[in-house]
């Protein structure tokens, strides 16, 4: 066991010394290349979550490319980062198996997981080896409440996202003169939909909204006609859906076909409502849909640059890309501060990350980890306007004004 833990340390330490010796012996002429640092990237690229996993991988890849092109990890003599990719196969066993393989290959940390069940199982497997695990997306609050010292989440958890969603909804509604009073909740019956709906049921009435009905649907669902008809008869001011990509696309198209037009659609962590594929393929159905979700900071120049690179590959700009990009940058930042590719040193450095970490592109406050959760992490409100996804809240990150209630017609 100690051998395997040391595996990650020895070469890079040696490399560091070699690098230093080389630099001393022949400055600028003969610099020994330090051994690369292996970084595990875990994403579900097959199975139900393949699309998200693929985009997560692209984000991590772009970050690693950028790091390597800009001189690697400087504190380690410019060591390059080598990606060890693992396919989590959209299930927890797949994630665990890949963590074991990455451990055998001697990675210094693991980034990714995407879905909460994968993150839960994989971070737990990594904790056996004191292997730092950085969750990219998984929002379940159980992830950071287990007391695992190796597990970090840079992005916000479900509770904080829901709180932001509720606060911003009230602000939005108040600013528009309180046009919305009645709500219909539509949610998928799995992990996140049910949880989100339950929180809404508890939190919306005290804030002055009346819930007319809560409608659940399975994932996958092939037909939304009944739900649309039910919504028409209830005639709510606001629809709050929590569904995955296909189901929400189906629902919004069905609503559009049947000319059901509430004052707004306010989605929470929706799979489609801030997804460019939806915007491109169904611009009319997507127009003016609001979402509370992960999103990159539109004001940072790097965001636009990264977006261009992704779109140059004929891909859409999804939040998985900036989130994984930022998580990899977080590891790089910790490596710079740790000064050695040692797992425990990296864990300590990660825990001490503060506002000086600015190489990420998320719209977050100063980084500050408490029990592995970044307190600066937050979700933002987006709205689809003119075939683009715009940030409308919080105001300090916004690049557009909200359009609410929807204009008639």
């Amino acid at each position: 066991m100690p051998n395997t833990i040391l595996q990650g340390v020895t070469p890079s330490r040696r490399a560091l010394m070699l690098g230093a010796a080389g630099a001393l012996a022949a400055p600028g002429l003969l610099r020994a290349q330090p051994a690369p640092i292996k970084l595990g990237i875990l994403q579900p690229v097959t199975g139900a979550l393949a699309q998200d996993g693929e985009y997560g991988r692209i984000g991590a890849e772009l970050a690693i490319q950028e790091l390597n092109a800009t001189g690697g990890i400087k504190a380690l003599g410019g060591a390059q980062i080598q990606m060890v990719f693992g396919d989590a196969r959209s299930n927890p066993e797949g994630g665990t198996a890949e963590v074991e393989r990455m451990q055998a290959e001697g990675v210094v940390a693991i980034v990714g997981g995407f879905a909460s069940p994968i993150c839960l199982a994989a971070s737990q497997a990594a904790s056996r080896y004191d292997l730092p695990y950085i969750v990219d997306v998984g929002v379940s609050d159980q992830i950071v409440s287990r007391g695992l010292r190796n597990t970090f989440r840079f992005s916000p958890g479900a509770a904080s996202i829901t709180r932001a969603a509720l606060d911003n909804l009230v602000k939005l509604n108040d600013a528009a003169g309180k046009p919305a009073k009645t709500v219909v909740l539509v949610h998928e019956d799995g992990l996140f939909g049910t949880g989100a709906a339950r929180t809404m049921q508890a939190e919306l009435p005290p804030r002055g909204f009346e819930i007319l009905e809560t409608i659940s649907h399975p994932s996958p669902a092939r037909d939304m006609s009944n739900i649309a008809l039910r919504i028409r008869s209830l005639n709510p001011d606001l629809i709050i859906p929590s569904s995955y990509y296909s189901e929400f696309v189906l629902l919004s198209r069905t609503l559009q076909q049947r000319r059901i037009r509430p004052k707004g659609i306010y989605a929470i962590l929706n799979g489609a409502a801030s997804n460019y594929r939806f915007v491109r393929e169904f611009p009319d159905a997507a127009n003016l849909v609001m979402d509370v979700n992960h999103w990159a900071d539109p004001r940072k120049p790097k965001t636009a640059e990264l977006r261009r690179m992704v779109e140059a590959q004929n891909r859409f700009w999804l939040f998985n890309v900036p989130m994984n990009y930022s998580a990899v940058m977080l590891v790089a930042d910790a490596l710079e501060r740790a000064g050695r590719a040692d797992r425990n040193a990296v864990i300590e450095a990660l825990a001490k990350t503060d506002g000086s970490f600015t190489r990420h592109i998320m719209p977050y406050g100063p980084t500050n980890f408490v029990n592995g959760q970044n307190q600066g992490g937050q979700a933002v409100n987006t709205q689809i306007q003119n075939n683009d996804v715009k940030v409308i809240f919080p105001t300090e990150f916004a690049d557009a004004q909200p359009i609410f209630p929807w204009p008639a017609g």
């Binding site: 665990t96 074991e100 019956d189």
Partner: protein, 316 residues
């Protein structure tokens, strides 16, 4: 012949028990543990499907019941994990008996029985997904607390031995069943239920015993899964994936034999691992190759792997 079988079982146990001494890489031990857990689930299916001739498509109902009870009893009620595991196995047997009673008494056979079991498993999945006690859709987490008295071991090797012991126990149980009166009655019911009944076999009783035993063994696999991965949600516990895993291995390895499920699951999972290592870059291509190999294995030899060996031996 029979002694050779016993020798084979013990030989398998002895060789497999040595694995953790030679294989220390977590990757391979993890693979071995997971394969053996699914092997145990398949052994359970084999009792009802292989010997009893009742093809269930819903063994997830039993897998999930023990898994959930093992997890929920210890995490919510502080019951000792071993006790929770035992209660879970008993509950799975009871669930099996009830499902059997409801469907066999109505005379459901063949594909109708398969569909009913599938439906039961789906009902369990939806209920587990919606109720509070299972943690709903957020799932149930067993607290990481690595102590042997907690059924959590620091070394994957120890867990491997625990699972191996269960698999060998199930093999011995299957062997004993094969030679027992009940086993003979099960085979008689499988081959011709009317004839068996005419000879005085209480077919309903025989099938109920078969399903309860079968459910208990598959349930044990579920409990081990929960204890190993420490996280459960409704799709893991009651999803169709485990029903398929449970029936695929015996069918490939030879249903209604002691070694069938063991051979089947080892071959299937090694094949899947092999194809995974074969192709690196294109995601999912290994699954395609695995699927094609599976079609070939099931389609071409006379029924299964033992059939292939027999054919090869007889020189045809």
């Amino acid at each position: 012949m029979k002694d050779r079988q016993l020798a084979l079982i013990l030989g398998f146990a002895a060789v497999a028990a040595l694995v953790p001494f030679f294989v220390t890489a977590g990757t391979w031990l993890n693979f071995a543990v997971f394969t053996l857990i699914l092997c145990l689930a398949a052994q359970g299916w084999n009792i009802l499907g292989g010997y009893g001739g009742q093809y269930s498509f819903g063994h997830a109902a039993f897998f999930g019941t023990t898994a959930y009870l093992t997890a929920v009893l210890q995490s919510r009620y502080g019951i000792n994990p071993y006790a929770a595991f035992a209660i879970g196995i008993a509950a799975a047997a009871a669930v099996g008996w009830v499902i059997g009673f409801l469907s066999f008494r109505s005379g459901l056979k063949g594909s109708y029985f398969a569909l009913v079991t599938l439906a039961f498993a789906e009902v369990f999945r939806v209920v587990a997904n919606a109720s509070d006690i299972t943690g709903g859709a957020a799932g149930t987490l067993i607290k990481l607390d690595v102590r042997p008295e907690n059924f959590q071991f620091a070394s994957r090797g120890t867990f491997f031995w625990v699972v191996l012991a269960m698999v060998v126990l199930a093999m011995l149980l299957t062997r004993a069943l094969e030679r027992s009166r009940l086993g003979a009655q099960m085979v008689a019911v499988r081959e011709n239920e009317d004839a068996a009944r005419a000879l005085g076999v209480d077919a309903l009783q025989v099938k109920l015993s078969a399903i309860a035993l079968s459910a208990a063994i598959t349930g044990a696999a579920g409990g081990l899964y929960a204890q190993y991965f420490l996280y459960l949600d409704a799709t893991i516990a009651y999803g169709t994936w485990i029903s398929v895993e449970a029936l695929l291995a015996p069918i490939v390895g030879g249903a209604g034999t002691v070694f069938g499920p063991v051979v089947g699951s080892i071959v299937l999972h090694s094949l899947s691992e092999f194809t995974k290592s074969l192709v690196g870059r294109i995601p999912g291509i290994d699954l395609v190759i695995f699927g094609i190999m599976l079609i070939l294995v099931v389609r071409f030899p006379p029924r299964n792997i033992p059939g292939l060996i027999r054919r090869w031996r007889s020189g045809r």
